[in-house]
């Protein structure tokens, strides 16, 4: 018997029992939609987690330092380890998008408008290249001026209100919370006075250096975070960094800038491991966050498993309805099965007829399930956008659709096996004599 004949006979039966077909298909549709939504949920969460991870942990970055890093800039290892020819070589490695030096100079406090105080970790960087490293500017843009500073969005939060503190000290009413002394303050285009205190070996302040800087740009709030999350960092030019380091020398002679780090951007996180191993051959130390990805993938595998399991359970419940409907159908069609047997249909052909019929039911349900799942995802996205004000939108990857359809088809086939075997065992003579 030809496959197209099985399909044609099966389809004919489904059309004849339209209501039962629709009810069974509905069950499968809900089950396969649940699986598709579950997989889409897992996929979307994984995707956005990766985006977040990339944004926070910068999965496409490799931090390179000289072997035995952490020594002084003046130490010989820097020149020997992270030399200009090596940096040039690294820049030319495959998959390397860019490579630039970053160096933490110091942690300094600052004053602004004589009323607010804050603190910044100062990092020497090539300000013009910040954009290449995925830094996005919320306000302004980098400037070539020597006293320019680019600050993170978090730096505009948690400033200490000195005027309010003064009022409080004088017994003024400043409210009942100490938190009111910590405020957010717009810093774009403000003049900050970076303050460097020089203490002697006993910790007694000898001198205070002040470095006036202008906030030329404020970085964009990282996606998916609230404003105060993140570190308060100020990116400064090499000239200003040199002056600050020079000023620090007058102190107890211990506080020095960290060793510079070469930060490399790789075209894709998947290429990070390969580039890292090449760099290590240059006798350099590397550090990346790529291992987090594996850990996260492991965690999301569990989430996907749980969601998928829920969908599979729904499909299992739906399959019971098919078993019931198909078994009922075998009873209703006993006479027809008997006639077919008399006309020469063998056990396998009768069995296949029923299996193909329930497989078709599965496919119909699966296709409806795909449609359902799009509606469900669409509805969830509306809720997410309207009520949770979330930019993160669930999506269904194309690979999920055949998986959902396959589950529906398998459910159909599996549910059809028992009724099919039962139908094939129908005794032709008894079936014909029945009426």
């Amino acid at each position: 018997m030809r496959l197209q004949d099985y399909i044609s006979l099966g389809w004919d039966q489904l059309k004849r029992r339209m209501v039962v077909t629709l009810l069974c298909a509905m069950g499968i549709a809900i089950g396969s939609a649940a699986i598709i939504v579950a997989l889409a949920f897992g996929e979307s969460i994984t995707h956005y987690a990766k985006v977040q991870m990339n944004s926070f942990l910068k999965m496409d970055e490799i931090h390179v330092s000289a072997n035995g890093g952490g020594r002084s800039v003046e130490g010989s290892s820097v020149q020997e380890g992270l030399t200009a020819p090596k940096i040039e070589l690294i820049r030319k490695l495959p998959h390397v998008r860019s490579a630039a030096l970053f160096r933490t100079i110091d942690y300094l406090s600052f004053k602004v408008d004589d009323t607010k105080q804050g603190g910044l970790r100062l990092v020497q960087a090539d300000l013009d290249k910040l954009a290449e490293y995925g830094f996005e500017f919320g306000q302004g843009s980098p400037s070539a001026q020597d006293n320019a500073i680019v600050i993170t969005y978090a730096a505009t939060f948690d400033l200490f209100d000195t005027r309010l503190a003064q009022l409080q000290a004088q017994g003024g009413d400043v409210g009942d919370s100490r938190d009111r002394l910590r405020v957010s303050y717009p810093l774009y285009q403000k003049r900050l006075i970076l303050t460097q205190t020089i203490a002697d070996a006993n910790g007694i302040v000898q001198k205070t250096n002040e470095y006036p800087v202008r906030v030329v740009a404020v970085l964009k709030k990282p996606e998916g975070t609230v404003g105060y999350e993140g570190e308060s960092i100020g990116y400064i030019s090499e000239g200003l960094a040199e002056r600050i380091m020079e000023g620090a020398k007058a102190g107890r002679d211990g506080r020095t800038a960290q060793e510079p780090e070469l930060v490399i951007k790789v075209d894709q996180p998947s290429n990070v491991a390969g580039v890292e191993s090449l760099i290590r051959k240059l006798n350099l130390q590397t550090q990346s966050n790529i291992h987090y990805e594996k850990e996260t993938n492991d965690q999301f595998r569990i989430i996907r498993f749980i969601f998928g399991g829920a969908g599979a359970f729904i499909l299992f419940v739906a399959s019971i309805s098919i078993v019931v409907a198909m078994t009922m159908s075998t009873y209703q069609r006993r006479r027809q099965i008997g006639i077919m047997k008399v006309l020469g249909a063998n056990l396998k052909q009768i069995r296949n007829m029923f299996i193909v019929e329930s497989a078709l039911l599965g496919v119909v349900g699966g296709l409806a399930g795909i449609l359902f799942s799009y509606w469900v995802i669409w509805a969830i996205n509306i809720v997410l956008q309207r009520f949770a004000e979330s930019d993160e939108i669930l999506f269904i990857s194309l690979w999920i659709l055949p998986v959902g359809l396959l589950f529906a088809l398998l459910t159909g086939v599996a549910s059809g096996i028992y009724p099919a075997v039962k139908a094939s065992r129908t005794d032709a003579l008894t079936a014909i004599k029945r009426d």
Binding site: R2, K341, G344
Partner: protein
């Protein structure tokens, strides 16, 4: 063509064995039309079902075209029926949701024949039984006689060696009954089909080449006729 030797059939009824057929010997030649005549409970339908391989005998053998069918398993029997046996039912047994053409072509579906070929074959047979104009109609749109003609066409579509007809005129009026028997005899004459017809009506049996009478599960007489009689 058909050779039956010492065929017996019995079943257990409340712990007691009841005999339905007892020691039947029968031979049906090629191109013969044989009527199995008997009253209700004589065992004629059981004999027909045994000959068609729908039941297994308790004892004895049944050979069709030299092949013993009593020991065949269900799948081999299905295959055998598909190639060698045609069956005509008293109540036609057409599939109601299939068209006349599809009903006739159905046995060929089980043979795996291509749609175009089976359509041509079914069409040819329907024309032969006088229903060439009703190919796309459904059984419910046909009269009893027409439905039986469809059933006859279906039984012949696989070009069987022998056709078993179980009370083929049992549900028909006298006029239609005559037409159907005429058709069977014409098909026998023109296509050389062998028919075994089970009937309880003497008038129908009289038109066969040979009448085999059954009573209480035993073959009581065989009457041969030179040719058909006009009933």
């Amino acid at each position: 063509m058909l050779v039956i030797e010492q065929l017996s059939h019995s079943f257990l009824n409340g712990g007691e064995r009841t005999s339905v057929l007892d020691g039947i010997d029968l031979r049906v030649e090629k191109r013969e039309v044989v009527a199995l005549l008997g009253s209700s409970g004589s065992g004629k339908s059981t004999l027909l079902n045994l000959m068609a391989g729908l039941m297994k005998p308790t004892e004895g053998s049944i050979r069709i075209d030299g092949e013993s069918i009593e020991r065949m398993n269900e799948n081999r029997l299905a295959e055998f029926r598909r190639r060698h046996i045609g069956f005509i039912f008293q109540s036609y047994e057409l599939i109601p949701h299939l068209s006349v053409l599809e009903n006739v072509a159905l046995p060929l579906v089980f043979q795996g024949m291509k749609p175009k070929e089976r359509k041509e074959k079914a069409e040819r047979l329907l024309t032969l039984v006088g229903l060439g104009e009703k190919l796309s109609m459904f059984p419910s749109q046909l009269s009893g006689g027409q439905q039986q003609r469809v059933s006859i066409a279906r039984s012949l579509v696989t070009e069987p060696s022998i056709v078993f007809a179980d009370e083929p005129t049992g549900n028909l009026d006298t006029k239609t009954e005559k037409d159907i028997i005429d058709l069977l005899l014409t098909l026998n004459r023109e296509l050389g089909i062998t028919f075994v017809i089970v009937t309880h009506e003497h008038e129908v049996a009289l038109r066969a080449h040979r009448i085999i009478r059954l009573r209480d599960g035993r073959l009581v007489s065989q009457e041969e006729y030179e040719g058909e009689e006009d009933g």
